[in-house]
Amino acid sequence: MNRLVQDIKFALRQLRKSPGFTITAIVTLALGIGANAAIFTLVHAVLLKNLPVSDPKLLVRVGDTDDCCVEGGVPDQRDYSIFAFELYQHLRENTPEFESLAAMQAGVGYAGVTARSNKPGDLPRAERGEVVTGNYFQVLGLQPYAGRLILPSDDVQGAPMGVVMSYQAWQRDYASDPSVVGSTFVLNTYPVTILGITPPSFYGDRMTSAPPDFYIPMVMEPNFGPGNPTSLLHRRDANWLYLLGKIKPGTDLKQLEAKMSASLRNYLATLPLYQRQDRQADLAGAHVVLTPGGAGIENMQQEYGVGLKMLITVSALVLLIACANIANLMLVRGMARRAETSIRMALGAQRARLIRQMLTESVVLSCLGGLAGLLVAYAGTKVLLAMAFPHAQSLPIEATPSLVVLGFAFALSLLTGLIFGVAPAWVTSHSQPADALRGSNRTTSDRSGWLQRSLVILQAALSLILLVGAGLMAKSLSKLENQDFGVVTQNRVVVHFSPESAGYKQEQLQGLYDKIINDLHALPGVDKAALSLYTPLEGNNWGEGVYIQGRPEPGAQAKNGASWLRVGPEYFDIVGHRVLRGRGITAQDTATSLPVVVVNEAFVKKFFSNGENPLGAHFGISGMESVGDWEIVGVVSDIKYNDLRRPTRAMYFRPLLQVAHTKSQTDTRSLYAGAIMLTTKGQVGNLESQVRRTLANINPNLTVVDYNTFEAQVRGQFDQERMIARLTLMFSLLALMLAAVGLYGVTAYSVARRTPEIGVRMALGAGRGNVVAMVMREAMLQAIIGLAIGIPAAWLCVRLVQSQLYNVGGHDAMVMTGSVLVLTIAALLAGLIPAQRAASTDPVKALRTE
């Protein structure tokens, strides 16, 4: 024990004696360990973390895609992941293998709820609600933090209206006031009891940056669901629920999957959609896929998965480079101390003791590095989370780095340090002391040299691969961001609100809309104002199959889909749609005037591809009987509303309040506008509070769900791409830095070792230039071999990122050239410092050390 303390003290003294070596090693370790721990923390939190439920292994999700919100028709690949309520009931009743099968709203937060507490003076607030079945919390096996959770008995017709509040909302919006539990709130104008608070660790059934604030029993769906103010509950053609169940232990999932798929087909066969002859193949192929439900509905996991896996690869490469550096540093140090070791051996030191000392030194160094790594990991995780979820309100991810990962990275670098730290001591202590003493200063070549150089070459090759990857991602991001979406974003504001949550009836909407637009126009600085169902690049989309008058009925496989929305008179001007033919939507297009639509260029290209005149053509969306519903009166320029990687969709625009003649009852939900867009004359101070006040003056329940500039909304579309690109860039620069340090270290060591030789050369007439050239030649040779290996390797590796790229070929010559250039410059800089030092060798001294 005493000897250990002594060894540690000695080791610390040794490390303090060579601060350059020690600092380089510690920084390398800190960056390698810290960066990895940070990345893995993010990955672990997003991809691997289970819900805080009692038995995550028994949870099974019915479905495997991120289909969302409200859908009709046949899903992609005939793979059902989103279900109608009646279909859910059918599946539940036919699968006793589930102890309990719950359903929950897929599109949380689209409409939102307006909530007002019973506290006097409290203003209504826009919050998020999720409609769930009565057995939801039983399936998850959660215990309430306060009060109680929803029970099946709450989810029956006639039960008193009660909802559960999330712990986070309770903390954030109601100051953790215990009297909230059991009190009566006004939700969407209905009085509702707050039954209880969810446990603090529960962030909803899926990973999202905006988890629900209220859990609402399914029976209340007509007032609070995604179809509010109409109801989806009994619509057999609208799929809007995710299913998550708890299976009985020992259930064979493959068998259950087949059984549920058969059960699904039995139900689907009763739908009109599948009764047509040309839908029989779709019916036969309809199926579900069961996936593990322990982590909930894994939409975010799917969305981020590819990018995160790539980042893991990148950070693993960084760790590898860091380890190579540690190996190199330890080797250099060991070799430099060979003479010292020999002398001590000659003086009778025991081999075991020498090796133990080296061992202690390596461990002490690794521990210091690990400690620094811990700090980097903490800071790094915070930075990564902030980069990954820039708009998160309450993110279900803690910034505490995973200990497992920290331990792993630490162990790896410790091992590297040990192997390469002890090996030189071992070798030296096994050679004859006299040999080592005599030979050490005269050799100009060195046996350990090739190992060090190989490590540097490896580092150069790896960093080139990373640089190329980062370059490709950056270029792809810039292409994505700089493509022409067709929109105008300067001085534009998007306000989301929810007239349905405020309790408006259909016949009150015209008056409301007129008042909103009037009052907003009256605000100083506001130029234009328009209502719309939704806005470009906010992530929303309404789509429908189109039936055109005078054309044959489209078959089952026909691609006749088009996206649509309702817009007010000034909308086209605000967003940037230019009217190309005919006219736009005007104030004269009211509920009672001739039903019209305006289409975009892509619509014309898709449905009028033979040069027919779209103006005056008629179409509808409710089968062949609806073809006369609307007349096309104008064509506007294309704007991307969704899916930035694909071409603009065919779209059509309808006036705010015209109801389709055919199946008019299914056309009323869309009468409720979701967004207001404004243009201002230059910057207007305090616009947000003015808008909020204007709406609240009309009706206190008209709460602002979201307020954003149009520019920020568009930028928000690239958050994920930007994060991946930035992180890749950050990590590749880190790798480059480490590789440069490696090259610097080896070159500096080689210079130190060759000092006598350089002295001789200078005495024989070598000038500064000659010496610099000699050192640089050696350094650049390693970089060039690294490039020779790295270029073809990068060429092969880009395949892996190809799917992530937009409009960038994997083999982009500019990115490749740029990366090679950056690496070369880094190598030049890394070589130049020791080369300069070599050139200022004093030959007199160099020759004297002989």
Partner: protein
């Protein structure tokens, strides 16, 4: 050829200044073969380094072939040395991973000489020092005497006017030392000025003049230009 006036050199170590060369004034003529002697630490190597223009830290005046070295900057001194001076070391300082021919070629590689001309000069030199048979061997394959012969060949390849040798035979048997001294004498007779440091009276006998250093002072000079250390008291 060489004219030193009041050359001084000191080392500063830990606050104290140690003088290693004190007011050295010497004139060496082109035909001379000078031997510098003296006890260890007397400043012999230091003086040689000044003559070789490897050292810049001295004070005083130094004329070389009519050029005032004390007014030259580092680069000019290096250029001058590269043209006019050759050096031979006690431990040879051959580069291990180069063959004999490559070692000999080294000084030429630092001058702008066309490749073919260089090859011819190397061949000539190998011939002149009778080591043609060894040209592809590495230094460790040679005996000490042979290595020093290569060292001299390397120093002489560019036909310097001045050859400096710091204990060239310090690591050699007397038989080998004798051969080296014969070589020096021959080079001197062919017109090269030689300044060597040695501890051996036998070696010194090959030269034409002996300068003895003690504690940095010129203690005696067979050319009779030594100044007595008496003057130190007054200064």
């Amino acid at each position: 050829m060489i004219d030193l006036r009041n050359v001084e050199r000191s080392y500063r170590a830990g606050g104290t200044e140690t003088w290693v060369l004190r007011r050295i004034s010497l004139t060496i003529q082109p035909w001379e073969f000078v031997t510098i002697m003296g006890p260890s630490g007397a400043g012999k190597s230091s003086l040689l380094n000044v003559l070789a223009m490897l050292d810049d830290q001295w004070k005083g005046e130094f004329d070389f072939d009519g050029v005032a070295v004390h007014r030259l900057n580092r680069k000019q001194r290096a250029d001058l040395a590269r043209q006019k001076i050759g050096m031979v070391f006690q431990s040879y300082h051959l580069l291990d991973d180069m063959t004999v021919a490559e070692n000999i070629d080294l000084p030429l590689s630092y001058k702008d000489i066309p490749r073919s001309e260089r090859q011819a000069m190397v061949a000539d030199t190998l011939d002149r020092f009778q080591i043609v048979a060894k040209k592809d061997l590495y230094p460790h394959q040679l005996s000490g005497g042979q290595q020093q012969l290569v060292g001299i060949a390397r120093a002489m390849i560019h036909k310097p006017a001045l050859l400096l040798a710091d204990e060239p035979t310090g690591n050699l048997h007397s038989k080998q030392a004798q051969e080296i001294m014969e070589m020096f004498r021959q080079l001197n007779q062919e017109g090269t000025t030689i300044v060597q440091v040695t501890h051996s009276e036998t070696n010194a006998a090959y030269g034409t003049r002996i300068i003895e250093l003690r504690d940095g002072w010129v203690h005696s000079d067979t050319a009779g230009t030594a100044q007595p250390p008496l003057q130190e008291v007054r200064s």
